[in-house]
Amino acid sequence: MSEEPGEDEPPSFEERLKAARGRQGLDAPPPLSARDTGDMGGMSPWGIGLRVGVELVSALVVAVAIGYGLDRLFGTKPILTAVFVLLGGAAGILNVWRLFAPRPTRGPKVQDGGR
């Protein structure tokens, strides 16, 4: 990228300024790394498996807790728990989908000037 072939010097001031601004987050940052790949980059299959399991189960646990609580509140014993189990399962699958979904397809709004 050096315009002066005669000079054998480190990257020009402009380049270094650009790099520094990028590091400080003053310019639009370079393509995202940690977020694009999720945080699955350095993860072992064990880690991925554990994460998927935790995501699935945690949504279910929260849903059952809410459903059971609402049931006790309203005295509609099994109905709300059953409904929330279904919702919780769906939320768990949504969590797993979020984990593996290709990021760029999630809303082009993200890519606009703000980022």
């Binding site: 590091r23 400080q24 987050g25 003053l26 940052p29 995202l32 790394s33 940690a34 977020r35 945080d39 350095g42 993860m43 880690g47 554990l50 994460r51 935790v54 995501e55 189960v57 945690s58 949504a59 646990v61 929260v62 849903a63 809410i66 929330f84 919702l87 919780g88 769906a90 939320a91 768990g92 949504l94 969590n95 979020r98 999630r106 809303g107 709004k109 993200v110 703000g114 980022r115």
Partner: protein, 250 residues
């Protein structure tokens, strides 16, 4: 460890009062003590590391600078330019968990991150902070986060509760992930450690399997170091991702 021929794998997580009578009277347990130690170590790394203020850093200063720049990079890359304002929080969180995890690998030390009470408290703090940040930046518009885009209005009564549940389930997934990883590792260490003692005491024929258990334990310690760092990193990165979602909505 192997009292009465059975393996007491969970006894290691029992809380005991630390610091003698004073600690016992205010329920200051060894977990609290390790939290204080983790905080002091983080503080010490930065304070002692940055004291020389050398142009060419020494080892400790290089470590302190690397710690700073890694977490800052994590914040700005994941959250965006606004990430700088969350840097102190993420840095504190990351190093508190990292030192907590790493201290637990040493013998006779206690892993406070192996208690779900601790990890859940941290997670509640993160989720409440994310929600407050979202509400402050976007006001009522924050709740559009729970409404997926491009979906027929008929499906919204079904999808909004699912989104809300998915949001709330972060509480469990974030805390259980850290807690389960730390606890499982220490249970494995305890079990194989007990194998070494029990097989070693059982007779000369069992010395080979005992040596194998010891080798597994050595490998497990290395694995624990990896898990300790990775889980602290995952916790911090997920916090950043949640903050990103709160700042940018979708």
């Amino acid at each position: 460890m192997a009292a009465g021929g059975s393996i007491d794998a969970l006894g290691q997580f029992k809380l005991e009062p630390a610091l003698g009578h004073i600690g016992a009277s205010v329920y200051f347990t060894q977990a609290n003590l390790m939290m204080v130690v983790a905080g002091l170590l983080t503080f010490g790394l930065l304070w002692l590391g940055m004291r020389p203020r050398a142009m060419v850093p020494g080892r400790l200063q290089a470590a302190a600078e690397m710690a700073y720049e890694t977490v800052l990079g994590m914040c700005t890359e994941t959250i965006g330019p606004e990430g700088r304002s969350f840097f102190p929080f993420v840095f504190t969180l990351f190093f508190f968990i990292l030192f907590g995890n790493l201290l637990g690998v040493f013998p006779l030390f206690f892993t406070f991150t192996s208690h779900i009470a601790v990890t859940l408290a941290l997670t509640v703090f993160v989720v409440v902070l994310v929600t407050v940040v979202g509400l402050r930046l976007h006001g009522w518009h924050f709740f559009s986060y729970f409404v997926p885009q491009g979906v027929p209005a008929v499906l919204l009564p079904l999808l909004v509760p699912i989104e809300v549940l998915s949001y709330v389930s972060r509480l469990i997934s974030l805390s259980v992930r850290l807690f389960a990883n730390m606890m499982a590792g220490h249970v494995m260490l305890e079990v194989f450690g007990a194998f070494v003692v029990m097989l070693g005491a059982a007779g000369v024929i069992f010395w080979l399997p005992a040596a194998f258990s010891l080798a597994v334990n050595v490998a497990l310690i290395g694995f624990e170091l990896l898990v300790a760092t990775l889980q602290a990193y995952v916790f911090a990165v997920l916090t950043c991702i949640y903050l990103h979602d709160a700042v940018h909505l979708h």
